[in-house]
Amino acid sequence: MRVAVVDYGAGNLVSIDQALQRVGADVVIARDPAAIEDADALIVPGVGAARPAMRRLARSDLLDPIRTWLADDRPYLGICLGLQLLFDGSDEDGTDTLGVIEGRTIRLEDAPTLPHIGWNQVDRRRDHPLFDGIPDGADLYFVHSYAGTPRDAGVALATTRHGRQFVSAVARGRILGVQFHPERSGRDGLRLLANFVAIARAGSARTAIRPFGVTA
């Protein structure tokens, strides 16, 4: 199971690399299109603003392969900025982003402190295998000031409250995104990454292996 983690020059990849190894994935740090092509699953991590991120992805020729990956509904996990990039655009600097999920990334409203830094409760809106084995309302680690607001409430997997409530996890097909940092969220975070790897594995084996007793 090969997971490509996109490196576009911002932030810490050590913890995501270590966390994925811990859950049994082969990790490739992807800095060019070839590294993505061979992967079974794609993770786009990252912190910071959308404009420099989009620029750096474009400069590394990674933007088009990522768009194709998303258009093909292949397993994708966006973490923090990697989730925000899925939306149409960001109010942080007015940048147009990938536009895979309708809605914009906006500043957290009525927040008592910003950035929103620390462990906060993730309340589930619907069941999804990404959260298998993780208690509803688990505390996970956040570091951000902006969050995506999906137009279609159906894509929301979980919400969190800091000031006003915001969407802290989304799913549309096999395109997944979380606003918190699973790689820094202790045991529950590792569990979420293991679940993502399992979802990707099930998808890649879908045509080859059928559960016993199930007929087409």
Partner: protein, 255 residues
């Protein structure tokens, strides 16, 4: 509800965790990666790693030790000491830090805060402020170089300026109290938390759970940092969190 955080601090000198009073008389407390892993398992909400000899020795942070530590703890890691440029910050983040703390270099060149925040986002920029109470006047003075050099800067004014420039969090240490066990300087904390909108981490002087509780309830701190009481085993992360919960504070129950 955003939880109040308990943060053990690893003061690192020559790759080893040390503890001393007012940054001197250092005693070896162990390997940073071992301690980080143990504290994470005990329910620590974050780890702060300060290379305390980097700034006075004018050298860069020990990146290999940072990476070894980052790989052992699946909780956030803030690294400070010896970060003097955007490139230094990039290297420390690459080594596995989630946030970088700027102290001496930010006082000497305040625009460093803005440049680091532009490049990596303000959430990754912690400004550490070491304070000394003014003996014959109101307020606190900022000190740098591990408490060795006075700056004449007013602590509260510098805190506000740092946030304007792009600090996403402040780590406020009372040098008078550090290592003494006399409790945090709650007045200094309140003077700052009542004026800034970013999270503030209290540091310097904690000897038990009552100090942590007071820093939050009376000082307005969002997080509390302590070192000696955890290294020496007088208190565990679990025991202080239980006391904080009993005092009605919102804390994370370790998974």
């Amino acid at each position: 509800m955003l939880r109040r955080r308990v943060i053990p601090c690893l003061d690192v000198a020559d790759g080893r965790v040390v503890k001393g009073t007012r940054f001197v008389d250092l005693v070896d407390m162990g390997d940073p990666a071992d301690l980080a892993e143990r504290y994470a398992a005990d329910g620590a909400d974050e780890i702060v790693f300060l290379d305390i000899t980097a700034a006075p020795e004018r050298r860069r942070t020990l990146l290999d030790v940072v990476e070894r530590t980052a790989r052992r703890a699946f909780i956030p890691l803030t690294v400070g000491g010896g970060v003097r440029s955007v490139i230094d910050m990039r290297d420390v983040l690459r080594a596995g830090a989630d946030k970088v703390s700027l102290n001496t270099a930010a006082v000497e060149e305040p625009n460093l805060i803005a440049r680091c925040a532009d490049r990596f986002g303000r959430q990754a920029v912690v400004v550490a402020i070491d304070l000394r109470r003014r003996p014959e006047a109101d307020g606190w003075e900022v000190v740098i170089d591990g408490g060795r050099t006075a700056t004449g800067l007013d602590g509260v004014a510098w805190a506000e300026r740092a946030v304007e420039l792009g600090a996403g969090e402040l780590l406020v240490t009372s040098i008078d109290r550090d290592g003494t066990g006399g409790g945090y300087d709650v007045d200094a904390l309140w003077a700052i938390t009542s004026r800034v909108g970013v999270p503030v981490i209290a540091s310097g002087g904690a000897s038990g759970p009552d100090d942590l509780i007071r820093a939050i309830q009376d000082g307005g701190a969002d997080a509390v940092l302590a070192a000696g009481m955890f290294h020496r085993g007088t208190h565990t992360i679990g025991s202080v969190k239980a006391a904080m919960a009993a005092a009605g504070l919102d804390i994370r129950r370790a998974a």
